[in-house]
């Protein structure tokens, strides 16, 4: 009964490939987020969706495309992967955008070779 789940947990791939990370939450929350945590543990928001609609899109390359098929899912697709994309990607959810506690998934560790 994991609240926020992500797949895969680890992803190792070559430069130039396209990959997707999936996120699902069973908390009934309306808002979901993607964060990137770099090698120095700095955590930065990438996207947030509220009721399947994009509400925040930070300065993220357009190679990153989030997709929310329904309120419980927010997937992250990355085209033409680059070395600098290597990081841990965390999905999170909250009942309302930002102003309530966010619940984080276990993270997906992406390594681009």
């Amino acid at each position: 009964d994991t609240a926020v789940s992500q797949t895969p947990k680890y992803l190792v791939t070559q430069m130039g490939n396209d990959k997707s990370i999936k996120c699902e939450q069973n908390l009934g929350h309306d808002t979901m987020y993607w964060y990137k945590q770099d090698s120095k543990k700095f955590l930065k928001i990438m996207f947030s969706y509220n009721n399947k609609e994009l509400i925040i899109n930070e300065t993220v390359p357009n190679r990153f495309s989030p997709k929310s098929p329904d309120k419980a899912h927010l997937n992250l697709h990355i085209n033409s992967l680059e070395l600098g994309d290597s990081a841990v990607y965390f999905c999170a959810s909250s009942q309302v955008p930002y102003r309530e506690t966010q619940y984080f998934g276990p993270g997906t560790r992406l390594l681009v070779l």
């Binding site: 543990k41 955590l43 930065k44 928001i45 965390f90 930002y98 506690t101 984080f104 998934g105 276990p106």
Partner: protein, 113 residues
Amino acid sequence: AQSVSQHNHHVILSEAASLELGCNYSYGGTVNLFWYVQYPGQHLQLLLKYFSGDPLVKGIKGFEAEFIKSKFSFNLRKPSVQWSDTAEYFCAVNAKAGNMLTFGGGTRLMVKP
């Protein structure tokens, strides 16, 4: 734009020592404040949060934090740390007027047994 500073990047303590981790933010309006913890290899978990009311908030595992509005601070404290408190600690701030939850750079705490 709001920003969050955690001045202690690395802290090493012996068990039973007292802990105080600093967090300062730069937004002048009303804010929601959070401390999250990330244990090694795990996802972020909420330690405690402040929305309004008593500025001294108590969280899980014996942690507490004090919101001092005049100092724009929300420092995290624990009177006696344990080896199991070894983790990365993140302060986060959300301006009630905005849509952004901003994280500090994190403080890595190592507790020696």
